[in-house]
């Protein structure tokens, strides 16, 4: 049983689709937007978000919380996030289980953490601070990675579960990232799925990726590939119906093509849930 309502199958709202929001033909179950893109004083993006909010529920997805960083949490950032939450009443708020800033400088990337007890305690403590500040539980997303650390003392999924349990936060499970990391680091994606606490999964991400030599790169510029669809099917078997979103950030297709991907996820979820309901 998920800790959040099942909103259905949404899409990430990107600028190329703003006209579809304005003419009210962007018919998704819900929209996910990048929080930082709306931490601005005024102008069109905020107007668009108001319109999108009229069409469907909105979820705020951050990229710069730097929850795993060792710099102090940015209180100005949290204040801006809190202000956005107050204005747009998102169904929930999420960010990434990673770090992205050091010494006051931001990489604007999702950098991997070592999977250590120290990191679990460090991140969980900061998540609790954030949740206290925002007055709500947040979701953390597993990120794609291209390196792991010799000092890691546990698999990624154990780390993810430990942070979520110790921080009492939710999990935004990116199925594409599991697949990418499974290839890049040589583990079983099924073992990953079975290690994730089902009652913590509040949202699922799907996306496409690219290949660069031996590594898969999480580029979000392709349709969801078949291995990721297969893994999604397994995720639905394990976690049941969970709000699911298709991310597409580069070479973005038309809104209708994007919705076709979201609808494919809807069909898979329906098939799996129906099969589960008739199984003994």
């Amino acid at each position: 049983m998920s800790l959040l309502p099942h909103l259905g199958h949404g899409v990430g709202l990107r600028t190329v689709h703003y006209p579809r929001v304005l003419d009210k033909t962007a018919r998704a179950d819900w929209f996910e937007v990048i929080s930082e893109n709306f931490m601005i004083a005024g102008g069109r993006p905020l107007k668009i978000l108001e319109k999108a909010r009229e069409l469907a529920p909105v979820v705020l997805h951050g990229v710069s919380l730097n929850i795993g960083g060792t710099d102090p949490l940015r209180q100005d950032y949290l204040a801006e996030l809190d202000s956005l939450i107050g204005r747009f009443d998102p169904a929930w708020v999420s960010d990434h289980l990673c770090w992205g800033a050091s010494g006051g400088r931001f990489a604007h990337d999702l950098l991997p953490l070592p999977y250590t007890e120290e990191a679990v305690r460090h991140v969980a403590g900061r998540v609790r601070q954030v949740q206290d500040r925002l007055g709500r539980r947040i979701l953390l997303e597993n990120v794609s990675s291209y390196l792991t650390y010799a000092i890691s003392s546990m698999p990624e999924w154990v780390f993810l579960a430990a942070v979520a349990e110790e921080a009492d936060c939710g999990i935004l499970l990116d199925v594409n990232n599991i697949y990418v990391n499974a290839v890049n680091h040589g583990f079983s994606p099924m073992e990953y799925l079975s290690g994730v606490p089902a009652d913590r999964v509040g949202q699922i991400h799907l996306a496409g990726h690219s290949s660069d030599g031996d590594l898969l790169i999480d580029t979000h510029d392709h349709p969801v590939p078949n291995p990721v669809w297969r893994l999604y099917r397994e995720a639905v078997r394990r976690f049941g119906g969970v709000s699911t979103l298709v991310e597409w950030d580069d070479q973005i297709p038309s809104f209708d093509e994007l919705m076709a991907e979201a609808n494919r996820a809807r069909e898979i979820e329906y098939e799996v849930l129906c099969a589960n309901s008739v199984s003994p």
């Binding site: 005024g42 107007k47 060792t70 990489a107 604007h108 120290e118 390196l147 792991t148 000092i151």
Partner: protein, 265 residues
């Protein structure tokens, strides 16, 4: 004898990671201590994995700057722009959670570079002003109907207020011509005042101003009353001065740079 190697702290891991991927963009300066921290088949594999992050760091931020400074990027060409970005990131790394602020110092950075045509910094200043007004605070704009409600006797002391999504630039080159593609890097120096503003929530515009408009607009921004704005034209014959003043006011209203007239003002 065996020695135990202390486990590096999270802070140390991140320090070495940062040093390897972000401190010197495009210089492939991976810290050997960091290579040893990474799992891999061999050092080549480890470095390849680290390189994914250093490449991504540069390319992502380069793309952000290229989007915000399209005209500068086009004028310099891909190779020179990339080199400018790499040097810029060393001196002005992003310090805000939102990447939107990354280009805040590019004009200043270009102005200090002796190898750069002087007009490029001015062009960057214009492009950055356009970025800033794009998401500056909203304001309701004045209308002719609203102004009609101001009693005639109140006009001399009346103070107009500008919208917040407007900037005035004073530059050494006619960069609006560079921006439009009507000039090249060899553009002649000519002091230029530009008004940059946002219209209808999303349309970012800019226009050159003559000396009179520039002076009048500065008075409006400084909060001087309408009578002072009219004084800008006091050297002209009375009829022409009135014509120029009303024409200017009408243009400002049409452009949407005056905030809604509130009788409490």
């Amino acid at each position: 004898m065996r020695y135990s190697v202390p486990t590096p702290s999270l802070r140390e891991v991140q320090r070495l990671f940062w040093e390897s991927v972000a401190v010197r963009p495009r210089r492939h300066s991976i810290a050997p201590a960091f290579v040893r921290m990474v799992r891999g088949r061999d050092d080549s594999d480890r470095k390849t994995r680290i390189q994914v992050y250093s490449d991504a760091y540069f390319l992502r931020l380069r793309d952000v700057l290229r989007e915000d400074f399209r005209r500068v990027a086009a004028l310099l060409g891909a190779d020179q722009f990339d080199q400018v970005v790499a040097n810029y990131l060393e001196e002005f790394p992003s310090q805000q959670p939102s990447v939107r602020h990354l280009g805040r110092a590019l004009a200043e950075f270009l102005r200090r570079r002796e190898d750069m045509p002087r007009c490029v910094a001015d062009l960057a200043e214009l492009e950055w002003a356009r970025v800033e007004v794009f998401d500056a605070p909203d304001a309701e704009c004045a209308t002719i109907e609203g102004l009609v409600s101001v009693p005639a006797d109140d006009w001399p002391a009346f103070r107009f207020r500008p919208i917040l999504a407007m900037q005035i630039l004073r530059v050494q080159y006619p960069v609006h011509q560079l921006w439009a593609g009507d000039a090249t890097l060899e553009a002649s120096m000519a002091e230029t005042s530009l008004r940059v503003w946002r219209k209808n929530d999303y349309e970012v515009l800019h226009t050159p101003m003559d000396a009179r408009e520039s002076a009048a607009l500065n008075k409006m921004i400084s909060g001087e009353p309408f009578a002072a704005i009219c004084d800008t034209f006091s050297d002209l014959p009375e009829t022409q001065a009135a014509h120029e003043t009303t024409g200017l006011l009408a243009r400002w209203i049409e452009d949407g740079i005056i905030r809604r007239v509130d009788r409490a003002d």
